[in-house]
Each structure stands twice: as structure tokens, then as C-alpha cells.
């Protein structure tokens, strides 16, 4: 059974068609990267798969649960890191993790132990009691990554995970993500950074005008092929 499945999904906002029959499937142990130009439908796809939006047509399931009919149940089981998301302005990171632990029904000890691990990995222990609104964008992103993985979900949706992070932390996050999928979890990654997708993803899809137009395994690319060429051919070649 696929960890994430979308079948002929369509969604319009007024006259603008964001998705036009998009289909995809991601298995456990896969790090799926969704590439596409601006406005291609990447964020809409994530919002539908995580139960935030209802599609106009098509079927979706995440870990065997339908996000359309059971959005809260889906979000119990998954982690979501939206694009450019920032933690609640007037809470401190420590309070925010307490909040996330409460919402996700985690024991205080478990939260404390996992937060310790993440503050070590991403180096932000000194900011735990600073109001989130006063943190830099990079520090806020560290807080958001921690909150996303706090309950160690089997499926995670991430929109641009490395944005605003310094190169050292980027490297640590990349290594963590690779290990996370190796442990049998699934990650759905939306990014504009083709080199990130190439280095991290086990499976990549290119979306254009609301449709999945190409799928590849980066590891299976021929020596004279690159994801960038594939992307440009699919996006620019048809423009």
C-alpha cells in the first residue's frame, strides 16, 4: 500500500485551475521530491494531501486514510512543514514545543528528550526562551523543523526545508532526512532547488500546469542526464 496516493486530483480557485488531474504515489521508505515552476500546483498538492483543502475531483489517501473525510486523523499521523511558515509569534520555542506536544498527545518527558536532540542537531538551545517573533528567519525555520518531527511521524510533507538555514545546518538536515526515510518513513518534499532534490530524493516528479508530467529516480539517471535537463525539457521545452 502506498504511503501517499493521489488519483486524478483537480482543484480550481475561481477561474484558475491549480491542479488538472494530478496523479502520484509515494511508498514508505521513499523521499519524493516534487519539482515545478512557480504556480505549477506544488503547494496546492500538499494542502490537499494534508487535508487543508478539499479537491474538486479525484481521490487521495495518506497512510490509508482519506484526508478529505478525515483531515484531523491524517494530521495526527503526519508531519507538515508549510512553505515560509513561522512559529507562533508570541510563544517561545520551548512553549511552542509544549503546545505541539499537547496537541499531539505526547508525554512531557518524550517532548523534552526529543527537543534536546533537535536543539543539539540544529544548534539553537540558547534561543529556547526567546519569543519566536524575535528570532531570525533561520532560527524560526529550525523551530519549525523540530516541531514537524517532534512526534516522529511515518509521513512528512515539507515545503522548502532548507530555506534560510546556514550551510552547516543544511547539511545536518539533509543527513537527517536521508536517515529518516531509510528507517522506513516517507517524505514528500516540495522544492525549487534541483540540486537538493538530486542529492536527497529517491524519486522525483515534475509538475507543470497542475499535471505530473515526468517521474524519475535520480539514482537511475544516465551519466549524461541530469535532473536540471529533465526539468528544463519538461517545463521550458513545452512553453
Amino acid at each position: 500500500m502506498s504511503a501517499i496516493r493521489a488519483e486524478a486530483v483537480s482543484k480550481s480557485f475561481g477561474d484558475v485551475a491549480a491542479l488538472r488531474g494530478l496523479s502520484l504515489s509515494v511508498d514508505a521508505g521513499e523521499l519524493f521530491g516534487l519539482l515545478g515552476p512557480n504556480g505549477a500546483g506544488k503547494t496546492t498538492t500538499i494542502r490537499i494531501l494534508t487535508g487543508q483543502l478539499v479537491p474538486d475531483a479525484g481521490e487521495v489517501s495518506v497512510l490509508g486514510v482519506d484526508p478529505v473525510t478525515e483531515p484531523v486523523e491524517v494530521r495526527c499521523r503526519i508531519g507538515v512543514l508549510p512553505e515560509q511558515a513561522s512559529p507562533p509569534s508570541f510563544l517561545t520555542p520551548r512553549e511552542y514545543f509544549d503546545f505541539v506536544g499537547t496537541v499531539r498527545d505526547l508525554d512531557d518527558d518524550v517532548v523534552a528528550e526529543r527537543v534536546d536532540g533537535w536543539t543539539d542537531r540544529l544548534a539553537f538551545a540558547e534561543q529556547l526562551d526567546t519569543l519566536n517573533t524575535d528570532l531570525s528567519r533561520g532560527q524560526q525555520q529550525k523551530v519549525m523543523i523540530t516541531a514537524t518531527f517532534l512526534h516522529e511521524p511515518a509521513v512528512v510533507f515539507i515545503d522548502e526545508p532548507l530555506v534560510n538555514l546556514d550551510p552547516i545546518v543544511q547539511e545536518r538536515v539533509k543527513r537527517f532526512l536521508a536517515a529518516y526515510v531509510e528507517a522506513g518513513n516517507a517524505i514528500f518534499l516540495s522544492t525549487h532547488h534541483i540540486e537538493v532534490a538530486e542529492a536527497l530524493c529517491t524519486h522525483v516528479g515534475v509538475v507543470r500546469e497542475g499535471r505530473l508530467v515526468a517521474e524519475r529516480e535520480p539514482a537511475a539517471l544516465a551519466p549524461d542526464e541530469s535532473l536540471l535537463d529533465l526539468f528544463l525539457a519538461e517545463v521550458e521545452g513545452s512553453a
Binding site: V54, V72, A85, F90, L91, T92, T102, D129, L131
Partner: protein, 485 residues
């Protein structure tokens, strides 16, 4: 090449013109994005109509034109004070509503235009924009009363003094922000202002005589001209003093969320504690909720005094304060929804209904005790019998819950949209007036008999039930609407 960083050259002036035009366009699009272009375009018409209705009511009830003009100027002064703070301080609030918004006024880092020129352009834009959009309809609303009083020819002068009053409010706020950018706390600025006004009064000088309203009363009076010179001077000093590089120091806090959640008892997901912490830790803290209640308290006190003079009978303290203070539901709910956005919660296993429920409980915890405290203060100051006090309290709670339910039904989690959305604002005004006007008529005109008190208490209970009903009915509809995108 001519400098564009504030040299006063022809090129510099043309850049200022370009910036002002860009800001005006931006202001229009900001409002259009929030409320829809047509609804926003209809707003001046609505102001003119609603204003004319209010003026007609006041004239009909015997209020003198001079009093109406005085109130109009006070209203515009408050609006000027608010506009300055909302635009320059409320950046977070705008971001919460529209996402990551970059306004032209904050673009000095990316454009070769100095911060001070941008700020000056911003103030000019605000004055021009609101002088047309709000103050023209407000002056037009007064036209029937002016015609009746034979002062129609002075209507342009009224508009001019309203514009100048708006400028005074805007400059005062901007001066306070400039002082803050130099490290002076808002409280110190507020206290210094109050002391200055107090000293003037003690010295036998009426500070209000320096406001532009005096020009409408008597164009030959010198004090308002002196006030305008002072305002211009303050604007220049504030522009010079404003430090655009100022960043407030990082704030830390003890972990209080869990403590608050346990203390509040019924807060299964922490959303109630979070909503309260958001209000308490944002600019102004819980003081802004108290301030909003205080403004309504002062307005009610003035209305009670006015009604007493017009009708010749002493209005019922309990019933009039009980009715008007209920209006603070809107502002309290506005504060409770100002600092977050629903989308942020949809990353967690939380339903939209859970977010609404938490806002309702936060309203009960924060809003009701605040208005009840002001209500008790009114009862202590102006006196009321025990039955009237009890009936007024029931009415206050019922009306508060009703107006909360009405606000949620019409605006969901974005009550600030009321400000410029003609259709919803009109619906809210009508929905609020239906119970409020009859209650105020009874409170201001009729002696409260036992029968009336029982009836009004029952009305209070019924209104509360309607409010809860509206809330329960609208939440699933809003949830479906948000998920439809």
C-alpha cells in the same frame, strides 16, 4: 544624476510623487485584496448614508449642530491616531492577514530612497487617501443638518477642519512612534502627554481650543492656528528623530503555556492559553483590551449625560451601560484573532471548530470580566438599584455573547474585515442595532419598572442563547468555506 535621497531637487520631488502614487495604489490594493474592490469602493457611500442617518437621529433627538460637529472632530481625531499606529506598528497584524507583505514604506533597504522621505510620503499618502475616502463622505453626511442650520456654505470648511484634525491625530501617533524608536517607552510618552494636557488645564488654557475644530467654530480664533503650527513643528521633529534602524531588543519569557493551560482547567489542546498569551505578550498587552472597554465606558458616560440633557430624565445607569458596553465583544474578538491565522493550525491534528471553540472560551475568560468590571465601576460611580444592576448585568452578558456570535457568523476568524467591507459592516450594524436601539430607548427615556426589568433580563438571556446559536451554526460553515479555498 540627481540624488533621490532627500535633496529637494526636481528629480527628488518627482521621486516623492512616484512614491506617493505607488503607496496610494498599494493602499487601494491592500483593501481590495481583503474585501473585494466593489465592496471597498462602496464604503464611502455607506459612510455617507450611515453618517447621515446618525446625524438625522441626533438632530431629531434635539442635539445641537455644534455638538454634532464637535463629536465628528473627536471621531476623526481618534481615527487619525488609530491610522498612524495601524499602518506603522501593525505590520505583524497585516502579515497575519495577508501573508508576508512588504509595503513600499518599508522598502528603503531595496530602493535608493531615504527612510525619512518614504515616511513623509507615507504620511502625505495617508492624509490624501483618507481625506477623500472617509472625510468627504463624513462631511457630506452632515450636509442635511448644515442645510437645516443654514450653514451649507461652510461644508467645505468642515471638511478642511476634519482633514486637519486627522493630520493632528496622525502626527501625534507618529511622534510617539519616533520617540519609541529612540528608546522612549510608550508609557512614558503617554504619561508625558497627559501631564502636558493637565498642566495646560491647570494654567487655565483649554488644550481642546488648539484643535482644528476651533477653526470651524470661529475662523478668526488664533489658538487653532497655533495648534497647526505646533503640529507641523512636531511632524518635522518626529521625522528628524525617527530612527528607522531601531529594532526592539529580543524578549525572553518563562515557559508559561503549560502553567496557564493547567490554571484554565478546560483547555485540552492549549489553544485557549495560546490565544491569551498572544494578546498578553503583543504590543499593549492586556491593557489594550482594558483600553477598548475604557473607550466604550467613556462614550457611554458621555451618551448618558447627553441623553439626560435632551430628555430631561436621568437615564438608567445599569441598562444604558449594560447595553453599550456589550459592543466591546467586537474589539475583544478582534484582539483574540489578530495574532494568528487558521492555516498555521492546519499543520496539526486540530479542526477548524477547535480553533473557534478556543476563541470563544478566550472571549469568555478575557472579554466578559473586563466589561463586567467597567459595568460595576459605572454602577459604583453613578449608582443603580440592585434590581436594575442585576437586569443590566444579565443584559450585558447576553448582548456580549450575542454580538460575539454575530461577529463570528459574519466574519469567521477575520473580524477586522468589517472595517471596510460594506456589505458585512452594514449587516453587522443592522444586527447590532436590532436589540441595541430598543434597549437604549428604554434605558434613556423610560423609567425602569419591574415589568421592564424582567422583560429586559429575559431579552438578555434570549440574546445570549441566540449568540451561542449563531456561533454553533456558523462554525461548520466557516470550516467548509476555509477548506474549499
Amino acid at each position: 544624476m540627481a540624488s533621490v535621497t532627500g535633496d529637494g531637487s526636481a528629480a527628488g520631488r518627482s521621486v516623492t510623487g512616484t512614491v506617493v502614487r505607488a503607496m496610494a495604489r498599494e493602499e487601494w490594493r491592500l483593501h481590495s485584496a481583503l474585501f473585494g474592490g466593489r465592496r471597498f469602493a462602496a464604503f464611502p457611500g455607506f459612510i455617507a448614508l450611515a453618517g447621515a442617518g446618525a446625524v438625522w437621529l441626533l438632530v431629531w433627538s434635539g442635539t445641537t449642530p455644534a455638538t454634532i460637529v464637535g463629536w465628528l472632530h473627536l471621531l476623526v481625531l481618534a481615527f487619525g491616531l488609530y491610522t498612524g499606529s495601524a499602518a506603522l506598528v501593525g505590520r505583524d497584524a497585516i502579515r497575519n492577514l495577508l501573508g508576508d507583505v512588504t509595503l513600499v514604506v518599508f522598502s528603503a533597504r531595496t530602493l535608493p530612497v531615504s527612510e525619512r522621505r518614504l515616511l513623509a510620503a507615507f504620511l502625505v499618502k495617508d492624509v490624501a487617501y483618507y481625506a477623500g475616502l472617509f472625510l468627504v463622505p463624513l462631511a457630506v453626511a452632515y450636509a442635511p443638518a448644515a442645510a437645516a442650520a443654514g450653514t451649507l456654505a461652510r461644508l467645505p470648511l468642515l471638511w478642511l477642519t476634519l482633514v486637519l484634525t486627522f493630520v493632528v491625530g496622525l502626527v501625534l501617533t507618529f511622534a510617539a512612534i519616533a520617540a519609541r524608536s529612540r528608546g522612549t517607552s510608550g508609557t512614558v510618552v503617554l504619561v508625558a502627554g497627559a501631564v502636558l494636557v493637565g498642566l495646560a488645564w491647570a494654567a487655565g488654557v483649554d488644550p481642546l481650543s488648539f484643535l482644528p475644530a476651533g477653526l470651524y467654530r470661529d475662523p478668526g480664533s488664533l489658538a487653532p492656528y497655533a495648534g497647526l503650527v505646533l503640529t507641523a513643528g512636531l511632524a518635522v521633529v518626529a521625522l528628524a528623530a525617527f530612527d528607522p534602524t531601531y529594532e526592539s531588543p529580543s524578549r525572553t519569557a518563562d515557559a508559561q503555556l503549560g502553567r496557564w493551560r493547567r490554571r484554565l482547567r478546560y483547555d485540552p489542546n492549549g489553544l485557549l492559553a495560546k490565544s491569551l498569551l498572544d494578546v498578553g505578550r503583543s504590543s499593549g498587552g492586556f491593557g489594550k483590551v482594558v483600553f477598548s472597554g475604557g473607550v466604550l465606558f467613556a462614550v457611554t458616560a458621555a451618551l448618558v449625560g447627553l441623553a439626560g440633557t435632551i430628555t430631561g430624565t436621568t437615564p438608567s445607569t445599569g441598562l444604558s451601560f449594560g447595553a453599550v458596553l456589550g459592543l466591546s465583544s467586537f474589539t475583544t474578538y478582534n484582539w483574540l484573532t489578530q495574532f494568528d491565522d487558521l492555516e498555521a493550525y492546519l499543520a496539526y491534528p486540530l479542526s477548524t471548530a477547535a480553533v473557534f471553540e478556543a476563541k470563544f472560551r478566550a472571549f469568555l475568560v478575557l472579554g466578559l470580566p473586563t466589561v463586567l468590571a467597567f459595568y460595576l465601576l459605572a454602577v459604583v460611580v453613578w449608582g443603580a438599584t440592585v434590581p436594575v444592576t442585576l437586569a443590566g448585568a444579565v443584559l450585558l452578558v447576553g448582548l456580549s455573547v450575542y454580538l460575539f456570535g454575530l461577529t463570528v457568523a459574519l466574519a469567521g476568524l477575520d473580524p477586522n474585515e468589517f472595517l471596510f467591507d460594506t456589505v458585512r459592516f452594514a449587516a453587522f450594524t443592522l444586527g447590532a442595532a436590532v436589540p441595541l436601539v430598543p434597549v437604549l430607548v428604554v434605558a434613556f427615556v423610560l423609567a425602569p419598572t419591574t415589568g421592564w426589568l424582567v422583560g429586559l433580563s429575559a431579552a438578555g438571556v434570549a440574546l445570549g442563547a441566540v449568540g451561542v446559536g449563531l456561533f454553533r451554526w456558523s462554525v461548520p460553515r466557516w470550516a467548509a468555506r476555509y477548506r474549499a479555498g
